[in-house]
């Protein structure tokens, strides 16, 4: 590699900065709305707030209900529980299924993979009614468990695809070496395969987490207890029949996005390698 010229570097930086600005502009707007004293949709070109108040954040974060319970705290907890459990359940199910699809030969394997993709093709809006009935049969209405199960399974097809793709790229010989070293199938899986698949696990976990973290229609439909609402449900409360409380909505949106952004930040090293495509060795 010969040293690139200063000019080229400058051009690259300029290009990237421009894209970053375009990327950040709408986000700055949300920040502006969250920090502006008014509660309305501000329609101006300037993405920086003219005056700053933390009032919206205060209301979003510190609001209490009639009986003085700190709602945000409970809803955050509920969100964390639901998303965390979804991630765990989803990952556990996806990891084992993906491993089987990647490593074992069995009839109907191709068909199974196709089916997974196919489930992604049916618009989700129409699934609400049947899902509700099924959860009722399972006595899982108004329970976080039911929500977790639905989220985990709806995220499964993508998770399985991604993990299977990654497992496919892991050299089989490592597993065979472990078998020769005396590992049982479960040990091979836990001690060799899983540690090796860390990047893909991280990304897949992030996806399951996001699925659960951002969803609100199902959560709002299923849950009947405001202290167990997940944060997006709480956020949607600012969108009323006649008006939207934009300032609070924006503040809430930022609060909700923050953990996901933090996760992205923490996992960004894995992100590149952990998506199926990234794992494919050329």
């Amino acid at each position: 590699m010969n040293r690139p010229s200063k000019l080229k570097m400058a051009a690259i930086h300029a290009g990237l900065m421009l894209t970053c600005m375009a990327t950040l502009y709408p986000v700055l707007w949300v920040v502006k709305m969250a920090l502006s004293p008014s509660d309305s949709l501000t329609l101006t070109v300037n993405p920086f707030p003219e005056s700053i108040t933390l009032e919206h954040f205060r209301e979003v974060l510190l609001g209490t209900d009639a009986s003085g319970r700190w709602l945000f705290g409970r809803q955050l907890l509920s969100s964390l529980v639901v998303s965390g459990a979804t991630t765990l359940v989803g990952l556990a199910l996806a990891v084992s299924a993906a491993y089987a699809l990647s490593r074992f030969r069995f009839p109907g394997k191709e068909g199974g993979m196709q089916t997974l993709l196919i489930t992604q093709m049916f618009p989700a809006t129409l699934m609400l009614v049947p899902i509700y009935s099924i959860l009722e049969k399972l006595h899982l209405l108004d329970s976080l468990t039911g929500l977790v199960l639905v989220y985990a399974t709806t995220a499964l097809p993508f998770c399985i695809w991604n993990l299977k793709g990654y497992f496919d790229t892991l050299p089989r010989e490592l597993e065979e070496a472990a078998v020769m070293d005396g590992a049982s199938p479960a040990q091979v899986f836990i001690k060799v395969v899983l540690p090796l698949a860390r990047p893909a696990l991280a990304v897949t976990a992030l996806f399951s987490f996001m699925t659960a973290w951002n969803e609100f229609i199902l959560a709002a439909t299923l849950l009947n207890d405001p202290t167990r609402f997940t944060l997006p449900v709480a956020l949607q409360r600012y969108v009323g029949e006649y008006k939207v409380e934009w300032g609070k909505f924006a503040a809430g949106a930022l609060v909700i996005s923050a953990p996901v952004m933090a996760l992205f930040f923490a996992l960004q090293k894995h992100l590149v390698g952990g998506l199926t495509a990234g794992g494919v060795k050329g």
């Binding site: 570097m9 690259i12 990237l16 970053c20 990327t23 950040l24 709408p26 986000v27 707007w29 309305s40 949709l41 101006t44 070109v45 009639a66 556990a92 199910l93 084992s96 299924a97 030969r105 993709l117 196919i118 992604q120 049916f122 618009p123 809006t125 129409l126 899902i131 009935s133 099924i134 009722e136 209405l141 985990a152 709806t154 499964l156 695809w161 609100f216 709002a220 009947n224 449900v233 949607q236 409360r237 600012y238 009323g240 029949e241 006649y242 008006k243 934009w246 949106a253 952004m261 996760l263 992205f264 960004q268 590149v272 998506l275 199926t276 495509a277 990234g278 794992g279 494919v280 050329g282």
Partner: protein, 726 residues
Amino acid sequence: MKRLLALVLLATAWSAQAAGDAAAPLKLWHAYRGGEETAIIQVTQLFTAKTGVPVELLAVPYNAYADKLTNGIPHGAGPDVFIFNHERLRNFHAQHLLAPASKLARGDYFPNALEALEVDGQVYGYPMSLKSLALYVNTKLVPTPPTTTAELLAMLPALSDEKAGRFGFAYENGDFYFHAPFLFGFGGELFDASGKATFNTEGMARSLAFVKKLQDDRFIPQEITGALVKSLFNDGRVAMIISGPWFAGEVAPSVDYRVVALPTVSETGIPLKPFLGVEAAYVSSQSKQAEQAQALARFLSLGEASLVRTTVGRQIPADVAAYQLQAVKDDVLISSFREAAKNATPMPNTLEMLRVWEPMKLALRAVLQGGTEPQDAGALADRRYRALHRERPPDASPLPWLGLVGVMAVGGTVWVMRRPAPTLPFKRRYPDVALAATYLAPASAGILVLVFIPFVVGLSLSLFHYEPGQYSFVGLANFIDILASRGYSISEPLSFYFTLAVTLLWALVNVVLHVSIGLFLALLLKDPLLKLKGVYRVLLIIPWAVPNYITALMWKGMFHQQFGAINGLLVALGMEPVSWFTKFSTAFAANVATNTWLGFPFMMVVALGALQSIPQELYEAAEVDGASKWTQFRHITLPLLRPAMLPAVILGSVWTFNMFNIIYLVSGGEPGGGTDILVSEAFRWAFQRNQQYGFAAAYSVLIFVVLLAWSSFTKRLMRASSEVMG
């Protein structure tokens, strides 16, 4: 010892009694915010104090409220009492969600409020508050409010100065709810004698011509939204607006205003008659404590409750007695709205009313955005109405279908059995079957129950026709209607084929943009000597982390014609501002821009990973061979990226194909449904056009078929590319 025992006994006795006495709490659902929520909380506390019956409140996000009710109540998971506007009454009634208001005394309420809640002579729900439109006037700018349209028109030129961003008048003129007063004021009718909707009327044309002229004369702004009305009024840049009681809480303290009834149309002598909306407390048909639930609902609508709701919640009470109270009498705002509501027509709670909205909106926007003359708009609306209004197709016999399923099952079994016996025993061919089964079982069970069964149910719904409360089997009628493009010519927006073409174009353009931008950025970021790489990368994946409904709302605002950032930028660059949602091309472009912003980070990350997997030696070898950068890109990067990018591209295309949020929230299908894609069309049929679930399901099945074809095509692509790779 004895004392302790006695204490324990006492305690158990007390708790047993408490458990026996304490009535199970009544569940009350609402979607209130702010003052209204405070009021409802206080009111229920009053009720509990009076009757000893505890009430459990649940505030539901409005967006999910109706779904929650229609799903919850039939499954016994709903509330005892819920508060909702009367617009959906007929729908709820058809689904048997409502119990008649048994403790209701007609004399307690205004007659037009009761009328709104009546179905077949029976009143459902206790009317709580009235919602209707009135004129808010900035008293600094307009000391004496206009009482006729002639007066209004006379005032407007002095109050308006478009260049300075000042307007005499503003209201959400693209929304039929706000146009209805004009329609009625100009003598228009919504329904003919037989109760069917009519559009092509004299009043329609005249009212449209009137509002169009207001806009053409620049007395009112362009593309008005609620947010715009609010910010203009609060900034003192608009003198008069039309809005409802809910707006009072939004007016900035610095603005002096008063509320008056809407003016009378000078030509006809009829006042501008807004719709009357009635918010009522309904008792669920499934309530286990019907008596107490009725008592609660009644309590909410009358007396002390009314007073609290008026003073704290700023509602316009629907009970007559409330207006005798001094506190209410003194309240100028409340009594002005009461005055305004006297002219109001109760919005019909019929199913036919629900069919009016979309054609009306189409006509309104067609006129306001130009291109359609007011007198032609009625016909336009009428056509849309007839296309959307589907008579229930004749019932079909499910027998042939059951037969078909049977034959398929038998055929499948025979096919499996008759396949040439494999040379190796099963156990040999698949030594790991048992292990595979254990690994797969949990995921398969989950997917089967929560993904696959709903999916099959969804598929089979497409053979049914749904009218609130009942499904009837109609065979392929839904598909025939869609594929024969009933109501539209093939090349017209909203015909299946047009929507399909838009959808394909949408998916194609998006995927191409996502991939090329993602790849371009990945190539920039790949440079090993680049500084700040990590920072750029983090900033560039931010859009991925933002929930996409938030993204969509942001972008929608940015594309506003007069106040949006995009046009601001265009103007700053010396270009003409663009009215984004009035033309197909620009509306489509706006959707694409939003979705591109949302989608490129995923492709960028995938491309970064894929680029990393290309061995550096290949480039060095090419360099030695004297290949130019472009040649290297063409002959090394692209072919080697292909197998790594392809799965992501396929997945991306499926996601884009079904990317409902963006279309729905950014362009909303404007103009006239032209930018709707198949999923948003399915959504409209399911949730906005009288819950035609069957028809929506048929759309979904067609979407599914298209994607299936696409995926088998891409499977071939994948196979080809993996052959390339050996």
